[in-house]
C-alpha cells in the first residue's frame, strides 16, 4: 500500500490554506507507512471542520456526533480488535463537548490512535472561542476577550494516563507523518495533538506564529518521565513538537482478555442449561 491508495475521490470542504489539508496528507502517508490495509482500518470522527476527514480517506469511516468519536471508536475496537482504529477531530469536539470521553479513553488505555487537529477556535460554526483559545482573545463569542484560560491538550492527556502523547504542527508534514505513524503503531491509547491553523478565523498570523514558535523536542528528553514531559506543556514562547511521553502498560483489550481467562479459565463457553442453572432453586 502507498499513500495514494488511501485517497478517496471526495473533495474536502475545507477553506484554502486550512492546516487540515496537510494533516490529511500525513494521514495518507502514515497509514501506508504503518502498513495498514484500507479495509482493516476504521476512521472515526465527531463533528467539526476536521471531523470531515474520514470521508477523504479510503477506509471504513464514521463521521459521527459532536464529541462522541471516542466511545464509538472504543466500541469498534473492542468488537473487532483486528482493525486499526483511529479517532480524529478538533479541540472543541474532544476537549469541550467530548471532554469526559477523553478522560476515560486515556485512563482505559484503549488501543486506538487519537489525532486532535487543534486550531484554537470553532471553525465550522464560524469563529467562536474554543477550549484551546488563549485568554483575552477576541472572537465572535468573546466580544471583549476570552475570559477562560486555554487547556493544554498534551498536559491533560499525560495527567489522565495516556500511554503515548505527542505534539505536532501541520506545517511540518514530514514530522507529523512520523508522529502519526508511531501513534498508529503504539500499543495503547496514543494521543497526537496537531496544531493546525485556521486561516479563516485565526488569520494568516496564526500560521506564521506557530511556525516561528515550533522547535523539535531535545534528543535527550526522557519520554518515560511524566515530569519531564510536563515541562514541555503550557509553554508560551515556544512550541515543542515530538513525542513527549511514552510508556508501556496493559491496554483495555489486554485487560478484557485477562477477564475472559479469569471468567472461564480453559472451560468451553457455557451452554444455555449451564446459565439457567443460576435460576434453578434446587
Amino acid at each position: 500500500m502507498n499513500a495514494n491508495d488511501f485517497k478517496s475521490d471526495l473533495k474536502p470542504v475545507w477553506c484554502p490554506g486550512c492546516g487540515d489539508f496537510a494533516v490529511l496528507n500525513s494521514v495518507y502517508r502514515a497509514l501506508a507507512a504503518a502498513g495498514c490495509a484500507p479495509h482493516e482500518t476504521v476512521l472515526v470522527s465527531g463533528i467539526g471542520c476536521s471531523s470531515r476527514l474520514p470521508g477523504y480517506v479510503e477506509t471504513y469511516g464514521f463521521n459521527s456526533l459532536h464529541g462522541r468519536a471516542l466511545p464509538i471508536a472504543i466500541g469498534a475496537k473492542v468488537a473487532s480488535p483486528r482493525m486499526t482504529v483511529v479517532a480524529v477531530g478538533g479541540d472543541g469536539d474532544g476537549l469541550a463537548i467530548g471532554g469526559n470521553h477523553f478522560m476515560h479513553a486515556a485512563r482505559r488505555n484503549v488501543d486506538i490512535a487519537y489525532i486532535m487537529m487543534d486550531n484554537e477556535i470553532y471553525g465550522l460554526t464560524k469563529g467562536q472561542a474554543g477550549p484551546t483559545t488563549p485568554t483575552g482573545d477576541k472572537t465572535k463569542s468573546t466580544t471583549y476577550g476570552n475570559p477562560d484560560p486555554a487547556i493544554d491538550p498534551c498536559a491533560l492527556a499525560i495527567s489522565l494516563g495516556a500511554s503515548w502523547v505527542a505534539r505536532g504542527f501541520s506545517g511540518d508534514v514530514k514530522g507529523t507523518t512520523e508522529l502519526m505513524t508511531r501513534a498508529i503503531r503504539h500499543h495503547g491509547f496514543a494521543f497526537l495533538n496537531i496544531l493546525s491553523p485556521c486561516v479563516t478565523w485565526r488569520g494568516e498570523e496564526q500560521h506564521k506564529e506557530l511556525r516561528a514558535k515550533t522547535r523539535a523536542i531535545p534528543a535527550d528528553h526522557d519520554v518515560t518521565s511524566r515530569e519531564a514531559a510536563l515541562r514541555f506543556t503550557g509553554e508560551h514562547d515556544v512550541l515543542t513538537t515530538g513525542v513527549l511521553y511514552e510508556v508501556a502498560r496493559p491496554t483495555l483489550l489486554d485487560e478484557l482478555a485477562q477477564i475472559e481467562r479469569r471468567a472461564r479459565g480453559s472451560a468451553p463457553p457455557p451452554t444455555r442449561d449451564q446459565i439457567l442453572q443460576l435460576f434453578q432453586m434446587r
Binding site: 476504521v42 470531515r52 459521527s64 466511545p71 473492542v78 432453586m281
Partner: protein
Amino acid sequence: MRDIAHMENAITFSIVGSGGDGAVVAGDLIAMACAARGLHVMKTEAYGPQIRGGESSSTVRISSAPLVAPAESNDALVVFRFADFARFRSEMALSPDCVVFHEPNDPPPAELAALRCIAVPFGELAREKNMVAIGILGAMFDIPGDEIRAAIKKRFRKKGETVIEANLKAFGVGQAFQPASLGRRLESLRYTGTPHLLMSGNEAAAFGALHAGCTFFAGYPITPSSEILHFLSDWLPRIGGACVQTEDELAAIGAVVGASFAGAKAMTATSGPGLSLMAEMLGLSSIAEIPSVIVDVQRGGPSTGIPTKSEQSDLFHALYASHGDTPRVVLACCDVEDAFHTTVDAFNIAEEYQLPVIVLSDQLIGQRRETVDAASLVHDVVQRRIALPVDEYKRYAYTEDGVSPMTIPGIEHGMYQTNGLEHDELGRPSSMYVVHEQMNDKRHRKLDAIADRYRLFRRFGAEHPELGILCWGSSAGTVREAVERMNGMGASVAAFVPRILAPLPASELQAFVDQCERILVVELSHAAQFHRYLRSEIDLPRGRTAVLARSGGKTLTVSEVMAAAVEKVMA
C-alpha cells in the same frame, strides 16, 4: 386458556422491616422454596431511598396456578417495626382476614385493630428474626419445611456452616412457635414437584440478550436496570463477549453503535434519565442505519423522579426522543418471561432492519422475581445479513423495503463512509433536498416492513366484548386478572395489549376497538401518554372511551381496574 391465579387461589404475605432485619432475604427464601416445589411465585420488593439501613419490604404471592399479576392484598403481614410499615402503608393493601405478626413492644396502629394481630417476640426468639418469621409463615401456609431449609442452605452456602446452622435453628424456632389453626390454609396449593426457574425481569432480558447472540454490552449503572449490567458482566466474558462499564450513558450507547458498526450484536440498558442522555445517539443509529438495542427499565419520572418505583411514563420519550424524523422501533414486555422474548425480538428486528430498537420494561418487571418455565425460554434468532460486495458497493442503496446491504470492517470491497449527516447512497454527505427526501422515505419504509412482519400483541377475554381494555407493559398482567374476574362475574370484557408500540399493530388494534361497545385505557402515566398516543394512531370512540391514568409509585391493582370499569364505563 389455562387457568390463572386469582384472589381465591393465591396467597400473599409481606415482610416489612429496617435494613438488617432481612425482610427481603426472608421473601427470597420462601419464593425459592415454592419455585423448587413447582408452585408459581411472584416476589416484589420495595425500598426507601436509603442506600443501607432504610426501610424495606418484600411481598410474595404464591399459587398453584400461573400468576400473571402482582399481589392485590395481603393474607399475612410480618412487621418488625411499624415505623417502617408506615412508609409503605399507602402502597400495601391488607385483606379483611389478614393476620399481622409484630413485636410485643411495638403495638399495631389503631387502624389495624380490626385485624387479628399476634405478638411474636422475634428479636428474643433468635438473632435471625427473619428466619423466625418464615418459620411461622411457612407453617401457616403449608410450605414444605424441607424445601425452605434447602433454600436456606443454598442462599447462605458461601457464608459457611455456622451461619447456615444459626439460620436453620431460628427457622425451627419459628416453625415451633406456630399457633394452632392460624389463618386460612390453602387447600388448593398443589405441589407439582416440577421445579420452576425463579428469575427477575432484568435477568430474563439479559439472558434474552445472550440467547440472541449479543456479544457486546456497554452500560452505566442506574436503578432499576443495573442487574442487566451485573448479569452480563458475569456471563459475557465466559462466552467470549465483552462488557464495558462506560463513563456515562452517552458513551454507553456510543460504544454500542461503534461495536455494532464493527459487526457485533450490541446492547445497552438504562432507565429514563439514561435514555434522555441517549437521545442524540438514537438519531445517529437511525440515520446511519446501525442496529442497536436499548432496554429502558422505567422508573418514576421526570428527572431523577422515584428511582426505586415503577411507572409507565417513558412512553413518549421512547417513541419520539431525538430530533428530526427518526424511525425506531419500540417494544414493550408484559412480564418476566416476556422480557426474554421481547429482548430477542429487539435484536432480531434491529439486526435485520438496521435501526435502533428500544425495549420498554419497568421496575415492576425488571426487579420482581417470578417463576418461569425453562422450556418457554426459546425463541428463533435472526442473524445480520452481511453483504460481500464485488464491484461498486452502495451502503445506502434505495431498496424496496428500505434495507440496504451492510458490510462490516474487514470486508475487502465493502468500505464505506457512514454519517450522522444526511448522505447519499454511497454514504457521502449531502444537503440536497431530493436526497434527504428519498433517504427519509427509504428509512421509513423499513417501519412498514416491520409493521407487516411483527404484529406483536396479546388479546385476551371475551370473544365479543362489550368492554375493551387497552393497556401496555406491566399493566397487562393486572388487567388480565381483572378481565378474568369480571368475566367470571358475568361481564363481557376483553383486553388488547400491544407488545410492539412503534410501529403499532394499528389494523388489529382498530379492529378490536371497533368490536367493543366501550373502551377503557389503563396506564400508569399521570399525563395519560398511552391514551394520547392511541388517539394519534387510531380512532377511539368519542364519548365511549374512559381512561384510568395515574402516577406510578404504587402497583396497579385488579380492584382498581374493576372499579374503573364499573364507575367510568358501565355507569
